[in-house]
């Protein structure tokens, strides 16, 4: 007679999802580097597809997977704080580019914000979806706050933030390759504003300077969105 108890079952889930995610991550990371950085092998794209398909075909609920994987997500907390280190190391760059970054991102943020809301409304999405989609260009916690201000659904916003991070990262990489963009300032900025945290992570592949500019852009984009959200909300009330 096998002696199962609830604690054993829980700990098995934790170990399986933790080890499984880590092993796949490092395997795809190696593969990605060896393939000459083929975009479809990037761990953030390939690993979720593999694990997602596995969970769906095996009928394993996400909550079961999350029991272990939540500890991986939790690492985002110290990782966000860790950005202070490159920002400090590149404080000269930060000082030099702070004003242009604020100006350019200030303009770009309005375009992204109004553009996505306008388009969502034009193709007839519900007002709730329109408001959930608006703040998705920024890092999750800030987007959730902005979505709340606008009257969007935070869960949908959270998903859209991740989708944006993935798509923004892929599209920016394609743009940089196609257009042969070599300017680190522009590269970092494009990654930081289009794909927040995931874009910043990708920008660090290019080097610490690009990464530092991306994290700075991400922060500005986030702050700008929290400022713009109530203004747009007020404007929408008038119109």
């Amino acid at each position: 007679m096998v002696n199962y108890n609830i604690f054993q079952l829980i700990s098995i889930h934790i170990i399986e999802s933790l080890v499984g995610t880590l092993v796949l991550y490092y395997a795809f990371k190696k593969l990605y580097e060896r393939s000459g950085k083929k975009l479809y092998l990037t761990p953030l794209l390939a690993v979720p597809v593999v694990i997602g398909l596995f969970l769906v075909t095996m009928h394993i609920p996400y909550s079961t997977y999350q029991e272990g994987s939540q500890y991986i997500s939790l690492m985002l907390q110290p990782a966000t704080v860790a950005f202070a280190v490159p920002l400090y190391k590149f404080r000269g760059v930060v000082k030099e580019y702070a004003v242009p970054l604020i100006v350019v991102i200030g303009m770009g943020c309005w375009v992204a914000f109004l553009g996505s809301m306008g388009l969502a409304e034009a193709i007839g999405l519900s007002p709730e979806l329109v408001h959930s989609i608006a703040p998705r260009s920024v890092t999750t916690p800030l987007a959730l706050a902005a979505s709340d201000t606008l009257g969007g659904d935070p869960t949908i916003t959270a998903i859209l933030v991740i989708a944006t991070g993935l798509l923004g990262m892929i599209m920016t990489t394609m743009l940089i390759k196609r257009r042969h963009i070599h300017n680190r300032l522009l590269k970092g900025m494009l990654y930081g504003i289009s794909a927040h945290g995931t874009g910043t992570a990708k920008a660090y592949e290019d080097g610490p300077k690009t990464g530092a500019i991306a994290s700075l852009s991400m922060i500005f984009m986030g702050i700008m969105t929290t400022i713009i959200a109530p203004i747009v909300s007020a404007l929408a009330g008038v119109l």
Binding site: T21, L22, Y25, T42, P43, L44, P48, L55, Y62, Y65, Q66, I72, S73, L76, Q77, P78, A79, T80, V81, A82, F83, A84, V85, L87, Y88, P100, V103, I105, M107, G108, V111, A112, G115, S116, L119, I123, L125, L129, I133, T139, T140, P141, L142, I159, A163, T164, G165, L167, G168, M171, T172, L175, I181, L186, M189, T200, A201, K202, Y204, I219
Partner: protein, 125 residues
Amino acid sequence: MKRIALIVTQIIGLAIIAGIGNMITELLHLPLPGTLVGMILLFVLLLTGVVKLEWFEQGAAVLIGELLLFFIPSAIGIIQYSQLFGSTGAMLLGVIVTSIITLLASVTVITLSIMKLRRKGYRLW
């Protein structure tokens, strides 16, 4: 072994600062994520010389190097929203892709124009 212990200690230190950041936002009801406050806090501590760069440098390098890993579980979370795989999902995807293109294009154009102006000798700042 010694290096691993050092990295782990430094990551714990960063986690403690994240915790302090979370506490600050909660106490002051700031509309900012606590980790962002933690990042600003560490940046100020480094600038003022209260903490030394070497105390966090290696731990931070490891965390930033593996950053994509930490987003993987939430990316898998999309499977919970099967309704987003239908026509609404397709529309949302269309909106996202279009607005990313708009954002990338407008920012690239703005930046390149400013750079061009600078080369011609006009300085906006």
